[in-house]
Symmetry: none
DNA sequence: GTAGTATGAATGAAGG
DNA sequence: CCTTCATTCATACTAC
């Protein structure tokens, strides 16, 4: 996935101190309202019409555009999910507790497609079946490191893609030269 | 009036043990491993699974979370790029001939980019491309705001809509509790 | 004690 | 929806 050509600002190649501040930042009232909608109401999937309406009201508290509202919801949803995903293997105790189904707080029902693994499944007519369990499709643990020693440096293939290895085992390993960056301690 | 008080601590309102290290810092072994992955292996795009794996192994060398690994890679990538970008603009002294142009294939001149820089795929103007958002909506389509006043918290007016019929008007009534988030969220 | 730097963390914005 | 980029904030550390 080399889509590095994303520059966001039409820089073209010559960086030009884009002095103006072009990034929207929610004012406290706006943030409060948005959070209120998201958390208190569990309102997470605004339709375009609703986005416009929200935006319209938020304009009273500062400059804002529809896309800001749209992105705000998208980002919050994405990051909430990311959080949960990251922390779902916390060293809780010792026994594994696969207790899915109780995460109804942060429901997510809809996903278009494009998922390799299994995500949520919803009925054909629209009934959302909150069945988001991740089976054990991902092997046990990807042996990124051959072993747990001081020396994990082994040899391995080069999965430099970093993004393609999804639905399988993306085994990585590295062979570190021991005379590298550890001592210099500078970046 | 830009960056107003912006806080990033997601403590939830309860600041914990201030003073001590709230911020993760990689231990030397951790740093060595991370750098080894990044520089020696050119491993710059870890997937979430790989992040977990890396984190799991780095835990042997000190407290660390997935989030830390994620940010570490993100930051390193961003700053490497930033450095290059700065050097590209520095007064190197003389002529920096960046002659890249004319590789175009005689513009077809058919479709003009009608992007004004504001339009994204979300349909700011009313048209959306994906996001059909219809069947999920855990909450019904209620009025989002009671009215176009300036405060929907408690401020209530007669819903003299007049003709809020159907079609293009999905409003959600937000009965927010006094539980405001962004207000006192700061620490 | 202030200024500068390095870096962890957060978030808006896009692309796919 | 997922991933990534760019920018910014906050803080630890260093130097003056």
């Amino acid at each position: 996935m080399e889509q590095q050509t994303q520059q966001q600002i039409e820089d073209g190649g010559n960086n030009q101190a884009a002095g103006t501040n072009n990034r929207w930042a929610p004012t406290p009232p706006q943030l409060r309202i948005l959070k209120g909608l998201y958390y208190d109401k569990g309102f997470k999937y605004p339709t375009p019409e609703q986005i416009q309406e929200i935006c319209l009201h938020l304009k009273q508290y500062g400059q804002i555009e529809d896309k800001n509202v749209f992105f705000w919801f998208q980002n919050l949803k994405a990051r909430e999910r990311q959080k949960l995903k990251e922390f779902r293997n916390v060293p809780v105790g010792g026994s594994l507790d696969l207790n899915f189904g109780s995460t109804s707080s942060t429901d997510d029902g809809r996903s278009i497609d494009l998922n390799f693994g299994s995500r949520v499944g919803y009925g054909a007519d629209g009934s959302i079946m909150e069945q988001r369990g991740e089976y054990h499709q991902e092997i046990e643990t990807l042996p990124l490191f051959p072993m747990h020693g001081e020396d994990f440096f082994g040899n391995m293939k080069t999965t430099s893609e970093g993004g393609s290895g999804y639905g399988g085992d993306s085994r990585i390993s590295l062979e570190l030269s021991l005379n590298s960056y550890g001592d210099a301690d500078m970046v």
